[in-house]
Amino acid sequence: MYVAVKGGEKAIKNAHRLLAEKRRGPKEIPELSITQIKEQLSLSVSRVMAEGSLFDEDLAALAIKQARGDLIEAIFLIRAYRTTLPRLAYSLPIRTDKMNVERRVSATYKDLPGGQILGPTFDYTHRLLDFDLMEASDDDLSEEVSTDAEGLKTEKTTQPSDTGMPRVLGGLLNNEGLIQAETLPENEEEHPVGDLTREPLEFPVDRDQRLQNLARGDEGFILSLGYSTQRGYARNHAFVGEIRLGTVSIEIQPPELGFAIDIGDLEITECETVNQFQGSKTEPPQFTRGYGLVFGQNERKAISMALVDRALRAKEMGEDIVAPAQDEEFVMSHSDNIQATGFVEHIKLPHYVDFQAELGLVRRMREEQQTPSTQQSQTQQAAE
């Protein structure tokens, strides 16, 4: 057990000064600006917003700067900050089907209405270090048409297609009845939506709480669990039906206005997986589905979340719970990296009294072992 300690103010103060100096680095190197972090390390910003569970690019960038690039520390700062603000409202459910798409791909259909749009992706890059980036350059990337070394001509803009982008799962597969439809609770208006920031976690939980937990859960943890399902621990044969990245508008309905208003945009990554069939004596075989939705641009997390969401639906699908990824208590109790880091890292703080007790205990046990005759006589005495 951790115990309170007194003293050390001066040392602590100096340690914090050393930290501030380390954060700033050598004075002759220009200081990072929040805009630089926001615009050039935007994927770090995305991760901090997703796991900090607060969409605000400036605050996330500030947290990254303050945390010296330690993203979990930055997430901690964001989580702490959000507790200082009042909750004004719940939004209406966002409409990802109306997204301003930056990227949209499907691994299940080659030809889709609206097409496959790669957008700004690392996919198909060669993963070779680009040494040109060693030096800052003002390369003009704004030329309308450019030709590369292999003579491949690329344009800066092109006419977008006029067709909309129907959802792959809901729109295309569901038309044939080949995939399970999403179900809505009866009387949706009155059905409370679980909120882990308001109610303590109690098992068993429903899918709404699971999705909230996964959306703010640690990327690495969710990634590993998703991977474990692919390697055979609750295998469910997932395909990526669709990934979308883009912006959606946030709408709220303030009671004083009585109608919904749009308060701005939110960048979001969505992933829907198509998983292996389910059927019964009465129902024909059907694909099942998993869902991932994450703040910012983070499709690694979105795909992993969809895999784990599907695995966690084991009970409702009547599957045996045999693997960690299917165990909601295991997954949800360990996915939060702020809880995890708090408990793991706290063991470095003073545990002097606790340890003294254990030290005393082990000394006594050793003494007793070395002098069995005394022990025997003691036992005899006790018996008497």
């Binding site: 997703a50 097409g115 496959q116 957008g119 803009t157 882990l196 959306a215």
Partner: protein
């Protein structure tokens, strides 16, 4: 007869609301710089607005909105995470009440949006502010959206499926 006129009033109210939804959505997406720039232009020619009297029904305050999503995009609702939001309510001397709910933590912007929302409901300023703020800012936003769409469209891909060697 009274029923009919009542319905008509309601209809008008609905129209105003949808107009209002439009302008609030446009204003919420502007930067403070854009809004201030247009405001400065406006007040140059309209001295009345320079010291426009209004009072706060609610001073600008920042809080959180919990964003909701739906499983599978159209299924059960869940809480995704929060977003920082600033709100502000002002009241003009003419008793027109202006509201602002904007994403972010910019108090000045929220106040300006609330004032504009109030002015947009007055007969005197509605036309003018639409001309100076809403219409040009809306088309700038629309253009930015389309420009981005045509940039993104260059990465539209047509995959060809290759026949696997062993099947050939």
């Amino acid at each position: 007869m009274t029923d009919v006129s009542g319905q008509k009033d309601q209809l008008n109210q609905k129209d105003t609301n949808s107009e209002r939804q439009k302008w609030l959505s446009v204003l919420a997406r502007c930067t403070l710089q854009d809004l201030q720039h247009h405001w400065n232009e406006l007040t140059k020619s309209e001295a009345d607005l320079n010291n426009l009297p209004y009072r706060f029904l609610r001073k600008a305050e920042t809080g959180l909105v919990m964003v909701r999503g739906r499983a599978g995009g159209d299924g059960q609702q869940f809480n995704l995470g929060e977003v920082s939001v600033t709100r502000c309510t002002v009241c003009l001397d003419s008793d027109h009440i202006g509201y602002a709910y904007i994403r972010g933590r910019d108090h000045k912007k929220a106040e300006l949006v609330a004032v504009l929302d109030a002015l947009l409901q007055t007969n005197r300023w509605s036309q003018k502010i639409r001309e100076i703020f809403v219409t040009p800012l809306a088309s700038a936003q629309e253009k930015a959206k389309l420009d981005r769409k045509s940039q993104i469209a260059t990465s539209k891909v047509d995959f060809f499926t290759m026949v696997r060697g062993e099947d050939a």
